[in-house]
């Protein structure tokens, strides 16, 4: 009976994994089927030669280049703003926070993680209005407010992943540096963080993916359909998730919808590039710390 139960659990687990893999492949396949025809240099650069667009010699008005650049800028800025705070708070939770405050803060971060992104977007929008009233004419919905709101959205993931990564270290390793005379800070800097670097960067990678796909936050805080390349932190911008949302809800003919699927493929490619970048950073850091 026990053996039968074990086999049942194994088959259930295997089926779950297979189902997930199948859904992912079907999704990607469908995306490719509907959008591959639209993906060419024209989709990104319109009628402008790619080199001229990349070197910023000419502006792209009828392609997705501004949205691709806007997505990169937005995600890098959001992760750049949130990662130091998330890492610091995660380290605090794992290494310094004890007793009741640990329980209260843990609960707070869990609630924060479950907050719908539209609520965070609304908070960002309210902040924009408040700033606009405070500094009339100089600050409105913009890249910085969007990045701050997105950063706030991914913060709990960063905190919890860093905390769990550090807490999962074996006690013997945790004590090895203090037993040699290392201070708490030296232990964190030289042993605990390097030992869990890949898990911590894994959390950042997941947060990057979360930031890249979110639409609700940016549509309320700074993303618009047509803004050109982002030229400063205080201007509105274009982003692929917003373009996909916009085109799929407003399309007037099948060709426009195909452009939306093409944009979805581009967004997946942008995510892949960001994840690859994070992987390269992890490998480089690991090698540097090992030396």
């Amino acid at each position: 009976m026990r053996r039968l139960l074990e086999q049942g659990v194994a088959i259930f687990s295997w089926s779950g994994t297979l189902l997930l893999l199948t859904v992912l492949l079907v999704l990607l396949g469908y995306l490719g089927y509907r959008g591959a025809g639209a993906v060419d240099t024209g989709l990104i650069f319109g009628t402008i030669p790619p080199l001229d667009a990349l070197l910023l010699r000419r502006q792209v008005f009828d392609g997705l280049f501004p949205a691709v650049a806007g997505t990169f800028a937005l995600v890098l800025l959001a992760v750049g703003l949130a990662a130091p705070v998330g890492l610091a708070a995660g380290i605090y939770m794992a290494e310094y926070c004890r007793g009741r405050s640990r329980q209260v803060l843990g609960l707070f971060f869990d609630i924060l993680a479950g907050l719908p992104s539209i609520v965070v977007g609304l908070a960002g929008f309210s902040l924009t209005i408040a700033l606009h009233r405070l500094l009339p004419g100089s600050l409105g919905p913009c890249l910085l407010i969007s990045a701050l709101s997105l950063g706030f959205l991914i913060l709990p993931y960063l905190i919890r992943s860093t905390q769990l990564a550090l807490e999962s270290l074996p006690p013997a390793l945790r004590l090895s540096a203090p037993a040699l005379g290392a201070t708490k800070l030296q232990n964190i800097r030289y042993v605990l963080l390097p030992a869990r670097l890949s898990a911590i960067l894994g959390g950042i990678i997941l947060a990057t993916g979360r930031a890249a796909e979110d639409t609700a936050v940016i549509m309320l805080t700074g993303a618009v359909a047509s803004a050109g390349l982002p030229r400063s932190l205080f201007e509105q911008f274009e982003a692929l998730p917003f373009f996909i949302y916009y085109i799929s809800s407003q399309y007037s003919d099948p060709d426009e919808l195909q452009t939306g699927f093409g944009a979805a493929i581009l967004l997946s490619a942008v995510c892949a590039v960001l994840l690859l970048g994070a992987f390269i950073i992890e490998q480089t850091l690991s090698r540097r710390l090992m030396r």
Binding site: R98, P170, P171, A172, L173, R174, L175, S176, A177, P178, A179, L180, G181, A182, T183, Q186, Y190, V191, P194, A195, L289, M290, R291
Partner: protein, 234 residues
């Protein structure tokens, strides 16, 4: 107070979350000897060791009372006194754990780690000391071509000797060993035992061990921990 003793405990009590682990222990442990502590699992042998480098403080939940005096080369010190720096104490009282615990860095950096923390020496001096220490634990010939490799790829026995070399790097006068051979095979175990006997010549070793044969082979004095008391067996 015993005049020839290296470590003296007076009315030493330790409790973990209100549960008494050690009760009124008075001991005088001799210098340049191997002192073995045996006893059933879960009675507090590791806790007893961690009292001498105050490592129990890292986990929290414990309360230590009484007095522990260590006669270092430059004079006796109450290790729970207000002036005592914990970092300094742990450099003078080294510790080797039950399972080898190499740090996530190269073989070289693992051994050099205690010196890197102090950053008081030049790289050439550090390299020379690393080589000396690896030779002392009979590991240099085995790893001399792998000094820049991740220490975690070494075998269990090699890792444990690496950890002993690392613990010796700050030249501790006392070495605490928490079942240092329990995760090793017979050959690796024999090499560690030979090393411990060598180390006894110029330092005091306190070792927790479950193996009666091992205790008989290497220890000069044996205590058994039972019912919150340490009883001298021989």
């Amino acid at each position: 107070m015993d005049d020839g003793a290296k470590i003296i405990t007076e009315k030493l009590c330790f409790a973990y979350r209100k549960r008494a682990v050690l009760q009124d222990i008075d001991l005088a442990l001799p210098a340049r000897s191997i002192i073995a502590v045996t006893g059933a699992s879960g009675l507090g042998k590791t806790t007893f060791l961690s009292i001498f480098n105050r490592l129990w403080e890292e986990n929290g939940g414990g309360t230590c009372r009484g007095r522990v005096t260590i006669r270092f080369a430059d004079g006796p010190v109450d290790i729970y006194g207000k002036e005592m720096s914990v970092s300094l104490l742990r450099r003078r009282v080294g510790m080797v754990f039950q399972a080898p615990n190499p740090l996530p860095m190269t073989v070289f950096k693992n051994v050099a780690f205690p010196l890197l923390l102090q950053s008081a020496k030049s790289r050439d001096d550090i390299a020379e000391q690393v080589e000396t220490m690896l030779k002392k634990v009979h590991l240099f010939d085995e790893v001399k071509d792998r000094l820049d490799s991740d220490a975690r790829i070494l075998s269990g026995g090699q890792q444990q000797r690496l950890c002993i070399a690392r613990a010796l790097m700050s030249d501790p006068e006392i070495l605490l060993l928490d079942e240092p051979t329990s995760s090793l095979d017979n050959t690796a175990c024999a090499r560690i035992e030979e090393l411990l006997v060598e180390l006894r010549k110029d330092r005091t070793l306190i070792m927790v061990s479950h193996y009666q044969d091992q205790v008989r082979r290497v220890a000069d004095r044996v205590f058994e921990l039972a019912d919150r008391q340490l009883c001298r067996i021989w």
